[in-house]
Amino acid sequence: MQMARVIGDVVATMKDAALAGHKLLVLQPITPDRQPAGRTLVALDAVGAGVGEHVFFVRGREASYPFLPAETPTDACVVGIVDRWDVDGVRS
């Protein structure tokens, strides 16, 4: 999984039926010292995350697992909201 900051959301009225009712979030992956780490992406939300929050997300087929047994076409899904993290003894 990778850490990210939620920087926005996406509204798409016309979309795959299996995505109806799910929130689409814009994520900026980050390093533990809050630097951008790669391209932004859009992910489904499985935990009720909001803009500005630090989250972590899963990629690939496993991104569809939170919505089983529905087969949801997604390759990224937010699966946790970060309370805090510690690197080398320094708390963020």
């Binding site: 999984m1 990778q2 850490m3 992956p29 390093t31 533990p32 780490a37 790669g38 499985a46 935990v47 009720g48 972590f56 899963v58 990629r59 690939g60 087929r61 496993e62 991104a63 697992y65 939170p66 089983l68 899904c77 699966v79 946790g80 909201i81 970060v82 309370d83 805090r84 993290w85 510690d86 690197v87 080398d88």
Partner: protein
Amino acid sequence: MQIARVIGTLVATQKHEKLHGGKLLLVQPLTLEDAPRGVPLLAIDAVGAGVGEKVLVVIEGRAAGDAVRRKAAPVDAAIIGIIDRVTLDEGASAAGRDSHARERRGAKGQS
């Protein structure tokens, strides 16, 4: 699998139910010369690794789910081993071998 160093811990009370009870660790993938390679990842721990340890990380969803024995868990990275030693042959980088030798000497020197 990838070799990585555990660089930290992460707490997330609000997370998918299949992740509850699992330890989440921040890991930095390494080259064979122990230099950072790429961005740090968050992995679920299946072997009881601690910060500072060098570990084996599987970065593929199905394997990661198998490692933590949870079916249909939304995970794509798991720590599946703690590394004791990496040995490279004569043709591999001398810098890599030297760094491992230095680590062992350093560890022995500590009281």
